[in-house]
């Protein structure tokens, strides 16, 4: 028996807040996706949530995301129909009929992409994803850690450009080839990843992440309403840890090869007065150094939050003078194995540091 739960518009408002926190600076603000969903709900569309455990082993699931530089999305403004076209292209290409739509990454705007596709296509959203956060590259997923088949992949853009990557030998190749397409599209492409069976989703994907993002967002929104500390509210629903409080004193950004890379410096306040924190990013916050010593790194989630509102601040919008609290949240177990760390540990981002979790071993 399949038990589908209605996702309310209030859930989506919370999802937008929680998913941006889980986005660890990347994935783009979910705001534009949220606006699209408000529009769709106003027109009578509705979306339902399905638990991965309710999938039959031979069901097919579409994993969707926008790939590219988040700042491009801020200018091109997400069109809710584009992601549905990526799913449609994959169905046309493979002959598969998808049972449901799942997020590639729950972090940032990509958390809402499956809802937009689901609304237009009339399928449920699967309550799971492949990252439990946001990551910049195709091989940085739980299914890549599990060595599942990386192809085919469909890409579309709003101008009518469509391409399918039919086959590649490895996830790294998928990253390289699809990235080239993405850059040519203008550093943003709506994609449907390699179709996954119900069995694969149950074995390798990270369950319950849509529900988790909604819960984090609901806690922050409730704290805002009650004028309570929103950071405390997050830590009351998630086993996280405060890393730093401070103020932004420098931001260096460069858009290269379809990524936004750079580094932000914070000067400490409160217990951290007199110290400084540097956080490097590749779309997402990757490594944090306090006075030169690494204190947190991928795959632990590094979340830079507005101290007053508790909402996330993205790497593409962070700017001088903002007052922030940096927290760490634990990652999914699949990334803590030696194989997992090969995909998403600090060395996967070219930092020659041994992974050490904020949360002990």
């Amino acid at each position: 028996m399949t038990d589908l739960r209605d996702i309310t518009l209030d859930d989506i408002e919370s999802l937008a807040v929680g998913a941006w926190i889980l986005g660890t600076g990347g994935g783009g603000s979910p705001y534009l996706g949220l606006l699209n969903m408000r529009q769709l709900y106003a027109e009578g569309f509705k979306v339902q949530l399905m638990q991965p455990g309710d999938l039959a082993d031979d069901d097919w699931v579409a994993a969707v995301s926008n790939m590219g530089a988040p700042l491009v999305g801020q200018e091109r403004l997400t069109d809710s129909r584009t992601i549905a076209r990526a799913v449609g292209l994959m169905e046309d290409h493979t002959g598969i009929r998808f049972r449901g739509i799942m997020a590639l990454e729950i972090g940032g705007g990509n958390s809402i992409q499956p809802l937009m596709a689901a609304a237009h296509l009339g399928r449920p959203v699967i309550d799971a994803d492949m990252m439990g956060r946001a990551y910049p590259e195709a091989q940085m997923t739980s299914v890549a850690v599990g060595d599942l088949k990386p192809y085919p992949l469909s890409t579309v853009d709003c101008r009518g450009l469509e391409a399918v990557v039919q086959a590649v030998p490895t996830w790294k190749w998928m990253e390289r080839v699809s990235r080239k397409i993405c850059v040519e599209y203008g550093s943003i492409a709506s994609t449907c990843k390699a179709p996954r069976t119900g069995a694969e989703v149950k074995q390798w994907c990270i369950p319950g992440t849509t529900t988790k993002a909604i819960a984090i967002g609901a806690a922050v929104r409730e704290a805002q309403r009650r004028h309570e500390d929103p950071i405390d509210a997050i830590l009351s629903v998630e086993p996280g840890k405060i890393l730093y409080r401070g103020k932004v004193t420098d931001v260096e950004r460069r858009a290269t090869e379809g990524f936004l890379r750079g580094r932000t410096r914070f000067d400490g306040v409160d217990a951290w007065k007199g110290t400084s924190l540097d956080v490097a990013f590749q779309n997402e916050w990757i490594v944090a150094w306090q006075d030169g010593e690494p204190i947190a790194m991928s795959p632990d989630l590094i979340c830079v939050l507005d101290t007053v509102t508790g909402e996330a601040i993205g790497t593409e919008t962070i700017r001088y003078g903002q007052r922030v609290t940096v927290i760490a949240l634990p990652t999914a177990d699949v990334f803590l194995t030696p194989k997992g760390l090969q995909h998403v540990g600090p060395r996967a981002f070219n930092y020659d540091i041994d992974f050490k979790s904020v949360f002990g071993s």
Partner: protein, 517 residues
């Protein structure tokens, strides 16, 4: 240095003369419907005090809440034609899509989306559809829409499509007043477009208002350059300010907070500025207002302005009072207080009437409000206290009591003891804090250009030198200059490591240089 600072609020027009760092005169006059009359009256009063005699005035600096009040109160706004260059992207999120419904209905004259815009690296996204722009412009003309806001995908990186579309619109729809989003700034199309739409809605009001300012100054016989104060505590030359009224949106609040710091000598405190219609609560840090992080809502519209972090609520000297059930504001008689208030022979009960009845204000005719007994006035004051305490609590960033500086013409509504405040400070000329803040506004200098073959640090340093030179040329004291904004964007498609750098610096007005500037 002799400067006149004027604050044109919804209720009062205040004027002060600052001479050698001291307040040499401060007066108030009711704001008139035509704006000019109030300024004339205030300047006449200032002249009558003898303060204006003998030496010349170096500058007149006006701050006004006129533009933001127009948005908040949904008044005097022009219908705007929105023209976005960016199809086929963003079609499901058209201009005005995240505006409050009532404001959108008031301002949305027409929406046009056509092909155009750029990529993140400067390549064209789509060729500009000139025919569609011209057709849109002809339709605007047919509909009688002259306020036009043009936005384009990635225009902060390459404004050429916006500029070309503006030329086409000007040709097809002569008399159009055009706001290009690239003049307002930042990456984030929706927020930048929103700022452009608000600006376009205000351009008619800005033209009339600034013309009224100029007339009043000229009619007063003062021959000094006119400056309009900006959101960040600096000033812009009047004609430049007229084109971009959104930049002077929050200047009233910034001025009153900087004025409060100047008058009290306190650099760290909360400021409660009670005007005729609203109270603004903000926090002073090192003498400057604490800025809002990233997204700022103006009248419910999302923008990316750098503005002081304020909480505004409808409590002011002109606020309507209902007794059964008890409520204060948000409606206000505003500048009609001296006509519409009961103590002045009008028919609307206001907070000022209550204060007059309680003996806290000695204006108007106390006999006309004799029917308000002590119990009633106490109830109204208790409600005002509750509103202030709630707002103060919202704006505090740390627990514990903090000093509160009460300024503005309606400061009588702030009691001497409030929860959350270590003490309530009232300063001399506190009712003219905005005008004082305007008079001490700083001078800014900007540099926005593309640097090649330089490292990022060298390019930023070069931009800072140019911006500082510009500020000094505009009258700033070089020793006081500090950088308030630095932004750099790599432009990948240009050769030679091209970097677009935008730097903004501010400094105090140098002694004896305003005349030279």
């Amino acid at each position: 240095m002799r400067r006149i600072g004027i604050d044109v609020g919804g209720t009062n027009t205040d004027a002060v003369l600052i001479e050698d760092g001291k307040v040499a005169g401060a007066v108030k006059a009711p704001t008139s419907e035509d704006v000019t009359g109030g300024i004339l009256e205030a300047l006449a009063k200032l002249g009558a005090s003898g303060a204006l005699k003998a030496r010349r005035i170096d500058a007149v600096m006006i701050g006004t809440t006129h533009f933001i009040n127009a948005v908040v109160q949904r008044r005097h706004l022009s219908k705007v034609a929105a023209l976005r260059l960016g199809l086929p992207s963003g079609a499901t999120l058209p201009p005005f899509c995240d505006w409050p419904k009532d404001l959108a209905e008031l301002v949305r004259g027409a929406v046009y989306m056509v092909e155009g815009g750029h990529e993140y690296d400067g390549r064209p996204f789509m060729p500009l559809d000139r025919e569609a722009v011209a057709a849109a412009a002809r339709e605007m003309k047919a509909k009688g829409l002259t306020a036009v806001a043009i936005s384009s995908v990635f225009s902060p990186l390459d404004p050429s499509h916006e500029k070309e579309a503006a030329e086409i619109v000007a040709r097809e729809n002569p008399g159009a007043v055009i706001t290009c989003s690239s003049d307002l700034g930042r990456i984030g199309l929706l927020e930048r477009e929103n700022a452009g739409l608000l600006n376009a809605a205000l351009t008619d009001l800005a033209r009339d208002t600034i013309a009224a300012f100029e007339k009043a100054i000229a009619d007063s016989g003062i021959a000094a350059p006119l400056f309009i104060t900006q959101n960040d505590g600096t000033v812009a030359e009047a004609h430049q300010a007229m084109r971009l009224p959104v930049y002077s949106f929050a200047s009233g609040a910034t001025n009153s907070m900087r004025g409060a710091a100047y008058l009290s000598g306190l650099d760290d405190a909360m400021v409660a500025d009670v005007g005729g219609t609203t109270t603004d609560i903000g926090q002073l840090k090192n003498g400057f207002p604490r800025e809002a992080n990233s997204v700022v809502q103006v009248g419910g519209v999302r923008t990316l302005f750098r503005m002081p972090d304020l909480f505004s609520f409808g409590l002011g000297g002109g606020s309507h009072v209902s007794l059964d059930p008890l409520s204060i504001g948000p409606l206000s008689v505003g500048y009609r207080l001296l006509k519409d208030g009961i103590a002045f022979g009008g028919g609307q009960l206001t907070t000022s009437d209550v204060a007059i009845a309680a003996g806290q204000l000695s204006i108007g005719d106390k006999a006309k409000v004799a029917h308000l007994d002590a119990a009633t006035t106490a109830r109204v004051f208790a409600e005002a206290k509750r509103m202030v305490e709630e707002a103060l609590d919202r704006m505090k960033t740390e627990s514990g009591d903090v000093p509160v500086i009460a300024v503005g013409g309606g400061a009588f509504l702030i009691p001497d003891v409030i929860e959350g405040a270590s003490r309530v400070i009232r300063v001399e000329h506190g009712d003219c804090a905005n005008a004082v803040g305007a008079a001490i506004a700083q001078v800014s200098g900007e540099c926005d250009q593309i640097f090649r073959e330089l490292s990022r640090n060298d390019a930023i340093a070069a931009a800072q030198r140019i911006a500082a030179d510009n500020a000094v040329a505009a009258g700033a004291d070089r020793a006081t200059i500090s950088t308030i904004e630095t932004e750099d964007m790599p432009i990948a498609y240009l050769p030679g490591n091209s970097l677009r750098v935008r730097v903004r610096v501010v400094g105090s007005v140098a002694a004896n240089t305003a005349a030279a500037a």
